[in-house]
């Protein structure tokens, strides 16, 4: 099965600043592939190179087997893009935005009109078809942007932080739509810094930091590879006697802010030790992608 996207030694420099450093990855068809990383890790720059909107400084990149950016226009004809910053056309209504965007793909007539009706149903905006963009909420705008990205029935949909800044309801609705898309056989490529999003949606992902790929795999593989099975978090742990924290048996320990983390393959002895202590608030849970992410990209603030 040929890869939808194939990158080898992909590098991007702005003057002396290297933002993407010789990364290799390949995206198989009909999967959801994630780029996970803190702000400034090089995710968006990588996406821009895939769209042919940013020339490579070194390396090679092909999408649908065509080299990019040379065949950028041809590649974008088969691709849908949901950018991080909203760039809907404020001079138009919802349906006019879709119609105009269709025209950029040379689509017109009854076929386009039918497609627009379907897409408005798909993102639940049919009742807003004729309102101005400025009257839409953030969640509606993002849904419209997703509908817009699907106007050309793309094989590959690229989403740059699709749910950043949205409320939980809007986020769940978008996740459901993205799962529908993947089930219909489209390849999805998304960047996010929400672990939950990556864990729910991505079949395969890379974790990026400082322009490099730190590791790659499915969410369960990454969790298994890097962290213990279980975690006990002790909140506001600074007020807890230090002696107690030191005595917790068989843990790898970490501090993040005022929370103390204890990573272990069997947390029962730890829980037995701290359960019932007055005013001590703790959470016992399975390890997740966030634990992997924090371990691999560090716990310090990124910007």
């Amino acid at each position: 099965m040929t890869a939808v996207i194939e990158a080898r030694g992909l590098t991007k420099r702005f003057n002396d600043n290297t933002v993407v450093r010789e990364i290799d990855f390949s995206v198989s068809p009909a999967q959801c592939f994630g780029f996970l990383g803190p702000n400034g890790a090089g995710k968006t720059t990588t996406l821009r190179m895939i769209l042919g909107q940013s020339p490579l400084s070194a390396g090679s990149l092909s999408v649908f087997g065509l080299s990019v950016p040379r065949h950028g226009s041809k590649v974008r004809k088969r691709m849908g893009v949901v950018p991080q910053t909203d760039n809907l056309d404020p001079d138009f209504t919802v349906v006019e935005n879709l119609r105009m965007y269709g025209a950029y793909f040379d689509l017109r007539g009854d076929g386009l009109a039918r497609r627009i009706d379907e897409l408005l149903e798909f993102v639940e905006l049919a009742d807003r078809a004729h309102v101005k963009i400025s009257t839409l909420s953030g969640g509606m705008r993002r849904r419209l942007t997703i509908a817009r990205a699907l106007i050309n029935d793309p094989e590959l949909v690229v989403l740059d932080e699709p749910t950043t800044g949205l409320d939980p309801q809007a986020r769940h609705m978008i996740w459901a739509r993205l799962r529908d898309l993947r089930q219909s056989g489209k390849t999805l490529l998304l960047t996010t810094h929400y672990m939950e999003e990556a864990e729910r949606l991505c079949d395969d992902l890379v974790i990026m930091d400082h322009g490099q790929i730190v590791d790659q795999g499915s969410p369960p593989q990454l969790i298994q590879r890097h962290v213990e099975k279980e975690v006990v978090e002790i909140r506001e742990a600074a007020t807890v006697a230090n002696g107690l924290l030191d005595s917790l048996s068989g843990c790898r320990t970490e501090w993040v802010g005022d929370t103390f983390y204890c990573y272990t393959d069997d947390a029962r002895p730890v829980v037995a030790q701290i359960d019932g202590i007055d005013k001590l608030v703790f959470l016992h849970r399975p390890a997740n992608l966030e634990d992997v992410f924090l371990k691999l990209t560090g716990r310090d603030l990124k910007d």
Binding site: Q53, S73, M100
Partner: protein
């Protein structure tokens, strides 16, 4: 920097169509400025000054002024569109970013914008000629031949305006262009008086400026007088359009495709 030559493709018409649709929504205020401004100029200056001046260069001053204003308005219309509207879509509004996620490329966008700038000049030219005709300042139907020239003037000034938009850090930067390029042309290039009234060195200088050639074509057509040096004037206008377009494409790529 990507200096490759732009290729003209039919998809640039989609950008023209986008702008035409937006214009149609705001048709009221647009037509107000298209008809209102020339009416004020022609009534105020044409009749007011005309009363003292009488004839200029062998024609009624109202006709002299009207033909000059047809050319200079084509310049300002295309310039405003190529500066404020193009910049707004290029930078704060991210309209071009959205287009560049489709098969559209930078050269398509600017070709479409340029056609639209010239179309607005044309709409404006029709309005001024209508007002001038109503005031009896137009010699006859041959004045309609000025309209294709007005379209060309629009292309001619759209090119350089888009260059400025592509390199501009903000709206305020446009003041340089207006003060150093547009306003001097408006004053010096024969809109209000014949260029041979200027001192000799200045006369040679204004021959380098496109508005001089625009006026030299439009005025005889509106006044019903014989044309001269047509190929020269056409070549100058076309050269500004084509070279301006190319430079604008190179700089806009540098700004948008990074």
């Amino acid at each position: 920097m990507d200096m490759s030559l732009p290729r003209l493709k039919s998809r640039s018409l989609a950008i023209w169509k986008r702008n035409a649709l937006v214009w149609r929504k705001l048709i009221g205020p647009s037509l107000m400025i298209n008809f209102g401004e020339p009416l004020l100029y022609l009534l105020g200056l044409g009749y007011g000054l005309g009363l003292f001046i009488g004839e200029m260069a062998g024609m009624d001053y109202l006709t002299f002024l009207a033909s000059g204003i047809v050319a200079s308005s084509a310049m300002t219309t295309a310039t405003f569109e190529g500066l404020y509207s193009v910049y707004t879509r290029m930078v704060p509004q991210h309209t071009y970013d959205a287009m560049l996620a489709t098969p559209i490329e930078v050269d398509d966008i600017l070709a479409g914008e340029m056609l639209w700038c010239a179309t607005k000049s044309l709409i404006n030219g029709v309005a001024i000629l209508a007002v001038a005709a109503a005031l009896g300042a137009v010699s006859g139907p041959s004045a309609l031949l000025a309209l294709p020239i007005v379209f060309l003037i629009g292309l001619c000034f759209a090119g350089p305006a888009m260059v400025i938009s592509a390199i501009s850090p903000g709206y305020d930067f446009f003041n340089y262009y207006f003060t150093l390029a547009i306003t001097p042309m408006f004053i010096l290039c024969g809109v209000f008086y014949p260029v041979d009234a200027l001192p000799e060195p200045l006369q040679a200088f204004v021959q380098l400026l496109p508005l001089t050639h625009a006026v030299a074509l439009v005025r005889p057509l509106v006044a019903g007088q014989p044309l001269s040096d047509v190929p020269l004037h056409l070549v100058v206008l076309l050269a500004y359009a084509v070279i301006g377009y190319y430079i604008a494409v190179v700089f806009a790529r540098r700004r948008l495709v990074v």
